[in-house]
Amino acid sequence: MQHPIKIYLWIWLLLFVFSTFSYLVDFFRLQGYLRWTLIIIFMLLKAGFIVAIFMHMAWERLALKLAILVPPLALLVLVGLMAIEGDYTFVTRLQSFVHEVQKPSAHGGGHAAEEPAAEHP
């Protein structure tokens, strides 16, 4: 496999540019969906160029490409499952913590900040 050195320098430059862009996303404090979308786009572009050009995956035969690139897709299932699980744990924690906070105030010994508000409507 003989490629001119030029192609590596180009990819190098591209990776620099994408890294700078994703750094700027943080620097300019973009928030919300715009931030997450940009971060993921730049991340996937960088990962794609590294795998395709630096790791020569673009010039491999399809059998090898499929053997290496398809199995990681199973991880998306794990991401989905763990996201549901994490959300469930979060909600459960919120419920039980709210419960813990309410319990002492029901017996009259709760938070000092909440008591006066209840007595002076």
């Binding site: 003989q2 931030r35 971060i39 990962a47």
Partner: protein, 228 residues
Amino acid sequence: MSQDSSATLPAVPEGLQGVTADWSADKQAFPVPWGKAMMWIFLLSDTFIFSCFLISYMNVRMSTTTPWPNPSEVFSLTVFGTAVPLFLIAIMTMILITSSGTMAMAVNYGYRRDRTKTALLMFATALLGLSFVGMQAFEWSKLILEEGVRPWGNPMGAAQFGSAFFMITGFHGLHVSCGVIYLSVVATRVLNGFYERKGTYETVEVAGLYWHFVDLVWVFIFAFFYLW
């Protein structure tokens, strides 16, 4: 024809050598050197390990009721009197990308059988990797000694921050350190003509695959841990 050549084949080995002979006797699926195929399969397994770390990080970050420490502030560094967010991390990212670039060129010169250039570029890659590990050591000591981050808690917010951080960046740092040793060994062998006598420089490409993977993992850590 095939029967003729099988008659001249050496006797089937026994014992452990027999096991390797039997397992490698099947038809070759991938038309690449075995070292390359095995490295790809190792990297695939490593992908799953790193993914498990990152996914468990996602899970604890989603499920904690305490706010997550803002990485932009935690990893800011004061440069000339002003706090620059993620300053060290940005430099580390650039260094790793640069090392990936030098490695890709080393592989290219390896296939051109330019020993000196290949070895020099590989040593440059290893040196950049070493500086990356050095900066990571600096980052860790700053976080542990000055900010008081521990695997079980920290003053900035959710307790899980420390364990996720040390686990993920620690495992990546271990990979970089191993890569530095690996590259140094291969580069020394390039220089003393080991692969010239062997007749192929594919080992350089296999080492390159490992190194690019280390860079690849950092891309994901950078996005999900430092920028998210």
